[in-house]
Symmetry: C2
């Protein structure tokens, strides 16, 4: 039903682009729904691929859209853009390469693939004169890839921080609001579909670091291997930590941060970890499964983007926005792929996880005289200055939680001090240290 | 010193674009500084126009950049992009038209011009195969034009609200924080350079409504005449209003709002006014001269953009980002100008200023028995329900401020009730009504 000739060399620009969705899960269904309910100019959904496709068919998809379980149909000449929504590295990477080699542009929500293989795929797209859009790979419906790459292109960004994992933010804000223990908040998140049966990728920070690697590449022009970004789990956080954090005017969030030092030999710092953030910070104000990205630039100062970081419909908005950009720009290579990414060489930038900040350290001990003196002596040996000691009243002596706040110190030095401190016999469980972000 | 041929038909894409800055004030200087300190690929500053240019020359501009006070030099064949930073309608409009007709693309920060004449200029740019970028016309360094038009292109936005005037937000947040009267906060803003000697455009909402008109066109696809957007002044706000607002869990902000109803014959509501906003709203969290834009979409839900809405450097970031987009996309018409704007016809969309919401009404009266009964009777005649009556203790009887909160009612009906109420002789000054935004 398309009026243009099959395999036309003049697709894009003024003619219609035929779209194939690969993977008809939550996001795929939302993409199809938007494309059918509000068909954007120049875009036409015409093929849906899924394994065992018969079980996926839904009546609201119009009859002109074909269903297939043969991936080869996606690489056929009548398809202009492949939307990859199967996730994971295999076979997504092979299929995206095949699509690009067959002259299609690609839109993907695949954060792990873009974080780990993005540079190569972008280079291939460029070489093929095609485009690859990945707005949906970070922060769902928040247009942060475009915001960093194009909207703030005129600035020199040096820092990106944010809340990139809605599951962790849901768990932490539930613990904050209701005093739930971590395990109960996680269970609740799983029951509500905010967390997966195996929540490791979220809780340990692996999901967030893939997104942070993409943002660092797009916004800081640093290609980094996501596995080099240090992660710390949020599973060590207890309800009592929120009580102490509040006494310090703070709350606790899983914060992803990347910062580039000035100069030609720019150092890159990056990590994903639970941290204390001031209640007045935009990071503290992110509730539930929302996401937020904050940039700092030499000229523009701080800019904040926030909204729905996940979910079928918001993620589909990002996919459809990429489709519209590709259809509008046709074969122009300056579309979703800009010079920025391709400039960063394939070799990845070394990443440091070392930083200085005030710290919060929470102990749980069997109380006895001399504990404070013992801790203070070790910290002093490492030249770490104690700022304050906090203890909530009415706690059990056999399992006493208390907090020491520390003046600015290196996380690596503190780590060594805590290893030494861990040798004392008064711990009920290992101490938890969190940076206090300003 | 440019390597490309003068007047080349293949400018953009891979060759260098020569840039002329028209107007060397605060923003012009920042644009020049960014272009010279961090020259973006394919962009070259080569001409600066200003009246009485000799007084404007600065030593840090390199000698290859020419200075001129002849605007004709900007229209010469060796210039590819004109950056218009003189503001106002005349002669900016004529010069932009001349530049487009001479085959140049244009970048402008001129909100009044884009709000009032944008449709025609965009159509001319399209006709000429050139581009016009106006990211800097709204919310300074926050990439909201690109965010709405491209980043959220895949959504169906139905509401845009925000804090679009940094001067008003500075004044209101100062009143909030320190209990200053309006006049003192305004004076302070003027002394610090946040407000102009004649602050009318800011205080009365004329500045914000021009920006709102641009956002409505870009995000809601409604071309509107900014003069049709109802404005209410923030000058009626008194320090006592912040005390009452806080008792209601709110604060006061100048809020710009535009909302489109669903359906083919979409109604557009738009206004700029002081309003009570919940302390937990992103609007309440905007401090000082910052800006914030919040969108609501059918699929993506709420998305928030915030940052520095004014100032030389942040505004220059928006200008340079537009320049980079134009240089990268060359002659491709899908750049800063998208189909969206040109689709909206030249005829402007009718605007309604009528809305329903709970209201806050503050009276200042010479106290005597029967005032509440008199007010309640009139309100009841208009079928407006009173929610609560608030009175701070210890106020002077001869000048007693008190507040009535009203359940959801039409602002137009309330207006008529207040006209009737104004006839009573107990007023020390006219009552002030503010909507309470949820």
């Amino acid at each position: 039903m398309s009026s243009k000739s099959v395999g036309s060399e003049h697709r894009g620009g003024d003619s219609v682009c035929n779209v194939a969705i690969v993977g008809f899960g939550t996001v795929g269904r939302s993409v199809a729904r938007i494309l059918l309910e509000h068909p954007p100019e120049k875009l036409r959904l015409c093929l849906i691929y899924n394994r065992g496709v018969d079980k996926k068919k839904v009546p609201w998809v119009q009859p002109h859209v074909r269903w297939t379980e043969r991936i080869e149909d996606v690489f056929a000449p009548d398809i202009d853009i492949m939307v990859e929504l199967i996730g994971g590295l295999k076979p997504a990477q092979d299929w995206i390469r095949a699509a690009l080699l067959a002259g299609k542009s690609v839109v993907t929500a695949n954060k792990q693939l873009i974080a780990q293989r993005g540079t190569g795929l972008i280079a291939l797209a460029r070489q093929q004169g095609r485009q690859i859009g990945f707005e949906a790979s970070v922060a769902g419906g928040i247009p942060v890839i475009r915001g960093l790459r194009e909207g703030l292109a005129g600035d020199c960004l040096f820092r990106i921080s944010g809340i990139l994992n809605g599951t962790c933010n849901y768990i932490l804000t539930r613990m904050e609001a209701s005093g739930l223990p971590f395990a109960s908040a996680l269970k609740e998140a799983q029951d509500l579909g905010f967390a997966e049966a195996d929540p490791t990728d979220d809780i340990e920070g692996y999901d967030a670091r893939a997104k942070l690697a993409i943002l660092a590449q797009v916004g800081l022009q640093c290609a980094i291997d996501p596995s080099e970004i240090g992660c710390r789990s949020i599973s060590v956080i207890e309800a009592i930590d929120f009580a102490y954090a509040r006494r310090l005017g703070c709350t606790i969030r899983q914060v992803s941060q990347a910062e580039k030092s000035a100069g030609d030999k720019a150092q890159l710092f990056a990590c994903v970890q639970p941290a204390l953030v001031s209640l007045s910070s935009p990071l503290a104000q992110v509730q539930g499964a929302q996401n937020l990205v904050m940039t700092a630039g030499k000229y523009g100062g701080k800019t904040v983007f926030s909204g729905h970081g996940a979910g079928g419909d918001p993620t589909a908005v990002a996919v459809v926005s990429d489709l519209i950009a590709i259809a509008g720009r046709g074969r122009e290579p300056g579309g979703p792929v800009s010079a920025t990414e391709t400039d960063s060489s394939n070799s990845s930038h070394p990443v440091s996880g070392e930083f200085s900040s005030p710290h919060y350290v929470r102990f749980i001990v069997r109380d006895r005289p001399g504990i404070t003196a013992a801790l203070a002596t070790v910290l002093s040996n490492y030249r770490i200055n104690i700022d304050a000691l906090l203890q909530e009243p009415g706690m059990e002596k056999s399992r006493l939680p208390f907090v020491i706040t520390l003046e600015e110190c290196s996380n690596a030095v503190l780590e060594r001090a805590l290893e030494e401190i861990l040798k004392f016999d008064f711990h009920v469980q290992p101490p938890v240290s969190l940076p206090v972000l300003s």
